[in-house]
Symmetry: C2
Subunit: 424 residues, 2 copies
């Protein structure tokens, strides 16, 4: 089928197919697939998700991949190997976003994976394995509060309890699946058979400032921090903002506010990272003492042990804050991802790829951000290539990359695939 002009790499701007310039142009195009005007938000099983899959599927086809949408809504593209039972190398990242997102987190890695296949196909390279490009449908967990849904489906790690997860409108994941045209009963068809998979490579912006600080374009990931996420609640009692004396108040927001600062202090003191991203006071009127405050905690550390120790300390302190103010403190765990380390052979291929671009001793980085690779780690080995981003800014509209860095990253990612092919 012929592509519309704006979707075609060989467009009026004269971008070279599968080039960094083309990829950045496509990041701009996907940025328009948003539920909001003037901001990027693309969450799981929405109209924007469907539109994105369609667009990315066209680009996959253009690169020589057979595009298809799997039973979890992931957009996938298959390049057959030399034999029907050839092992498959997985390349990819995610296509969903946080609210108010930038245009490169996840998207850049997915489009790079497609471009690398396009470049190899254009050169007539015959690989000894098949390739599957994965555009994961839900890494951020924006809609249902549970991250990595797309990659968990591919890893065969889907859990039945997730069907009853609900979004902010009260729509269950099951209902959203059906409304999107997916059959929950077929979710297992998204899973890859372990024995056919060679490994997983993912390119991603760093989402931190270390590459920029070190004046490097690319880095090799050594592992991914484990993260736990909690829904926290302080329960007090609503009351009149004027009439109720301080001594009798049970102000839930005051307790929650103290816990927010306690989290920062404990996490910093112990070298962990704690973030409260959500906070809302109820009933939420200017003249009513909050009877309830709901907030989130995202907690990460280099080791799961450290992270869990800090969580224990946070709970202890929060309980003290609550007791002092006659409040109830409640915590419900929403997400728990173990720390993972990369597969050595795959990381070696990433290093070889970066070396091919001239940096023979690339910066080694522990990812503090979570990635689909964490979920895929339960299926197969993984490795990751990090790309410098401006000011370390991510999960923000000002996310940025340099075209020259993306060009280097494309060369390195292609060289990494070829390095694996050479020793296969």
């Amino acid at each position: 089928m012929s592509l519309p002009e704006w979707l075609n790499g060989d467009d009026k701007d004269g971008d070279v197919p599968f080039s960094a310039a083309e990829i950045l142009e496509r990041c701009d195009i996907l940025a328009t697939h948003s539920s909001r005007v003037g901001a990027i938000e693309r969450s799981y099983l929405t109209a924007e998700h469907a539109r994105t899959n369609w667009t990315v599927g066209e680009w996959m086809a253009q690169a020589g991949l057979e595009p298809w949408q799997d039973a979890a809504g992931n957009q996938r593209g298959t390049l057959a190997g030399p034999r029907d039972d050839s092992p498959v190398l997985l390349l990819g990242s995610h296509l969903d976003t946080v609210p108010g997102a930038g245009r490169y987190d996840g998207i850049l890695g997915t489009l790079m994976a497609i471009a690398v296949v396009g470049r190899l196909e254009a050169k007539g390279v015959r690989l000894p394995f098949g390739i599957e490009v994965l555009g994961f449908a839900d890494e951020e967990g924006t809609r249902f509060g549970r991250t990595l849904l797309g990659s968990c489906a591919v890893a065969g790690a889907w859990q039945d309890s997730w069907w009853e997860l609900r979004d902010a409108q009260g729509i269950s994941l099951r209902t959203a699946f059906e409304a999107f045209g997916l059959d929950p009963a077929r979710i297992e068809e998204a899973a890859l058979p372990r024995e056919r998979v060679l490994g997983y490579l993912e390119a991603h912006i760093e989402q931190g400032p270390l590459l920029e600080d070190a004046d490097r374009a690319l880095g090799v990931v050594t592992g991914i921090m484990g993260a736990r996420r909690f829904d926290l609640t302080m329960v007090g009692e609503a009351g009149h903002a004027g009439g109720m004396p301080y001594g009798r108040r049970r102000d839930a927001l005051l307790g929650a506010s103290e816990v927010v600062t306690v989290i920062e202090t404990l996490a910093r003191d112990h070298g962990a990272i704690g973030t409260v991203g959500r906070m809302q006071a109820y009933p939420g009127a200017a003249n009513v003492i909050p009877g309830r405050a709901e907030f989130s905690l995202d907690l990460r550390a280099e080791t799961d042990e450290l992270r869990d120790r800090v969580w224990d300390l946070i709970q202890e302190q929060a309980a003290k804050v609550a007791a002092a103010r006659n409040l109830d403190f409640q915590a419900v765990e929403r997400h728990d991802a173990e720390a993972t380390v990369v597969g050595e052979r795959l990381a070696e291929a990433i290093r070889a790829g970066i070396a091919a671009t001239g940096d023979t001793a690339p910066l080694e980085l522990l990812s503090k951000a979570g990635h689909d690779a964490m979920a895929i780690a339960s299926l197969t080995d993984y490795a990751m290539l990090f790309i410098r981003c401006g000011g370390g800014i991510s999960h923000h509209k000002d996310e940025s990359v340099i075209e020259a860095d993306v060009a280097l990253a494309l060369d390195a990612f292609e060289a990494a695939v070829l390095d694996l092919a050479r020793t296969f």
Copy 2:
């Protein structure tokens, strides 16, 4: 017209017309006029507001008042005086609620005013002045963030700038007026001519614990604390909850949380009352550092001078918190009500009324809560009767009163009106 059975005071429960029992039953009925199931929320210019006006209008008619809805949506009832130009005594309170409200705040005072007229009419008392009962349509400011809209219209203090106030859905006050069937161009018709008004008496639950602590049913108000309300904002920068190191974060929620505790400390230290009732972090995802936090401040004190001094200190401290975290702190004033004192002759009538129930030295109370009387104070003198409420709880579903207290309050309120009549 004949009333439906459930609206009729002479109902199957055998309540005496204009009795405390009937009033409490009517508070229960109005509690069902809510936009929420299982909670009371009745805000300005909604279907619930219209339904409440209709119901209360029926009760007004039953008490001998001529019911009408004014140009601001207030439900009013007129009892003519002996002459066409007789001065008018105003009695009333408000019919709207906060979100998750109790059933007595405002409602009880409005229904008591109606019942007092009903009792005087039933006894054939000929007053030397007319009476107007006012059921104010918006005291709480729940929908448009600006309190006392109903009573400001009656006081002739409506401001043109309010037409562009917007609710959470972005609907302007002007549009809401029109949708409710009101004509914004006629707002001035709600105002009372100053020269015809004798004064304003309001009965209200205390919304604090002082009467209960003193084992008194009723109290006389000496004045109402001035209140100022602000929309506060901390602006930082959103970022990835994992990738962005602490040293580079500009976490708006951390700044806002510190300010919440600063407000409590400064207000308590200086004997003022500061309440943060609203708080929300944006973009509001568990894995995104908040780039913006929006919260409210309601600040009250015995004198306007003290209140303003505490606000200066809060601003100073908040600016320091913001500077230390590289955030911007912004404050927009939404509401400013001056402290007011009661009219001595009217307060004397309230004291005489309470004395008639047996308490000859009633507790004198400064109201920390705002009331319609604050707005009416710009039109005429006012006085208030406070009624004990359970545990000082208000703005909460557990708001409660004792029937015996309401019976005493009815006697006192009626006696206060008669005291004014005697010396007219």
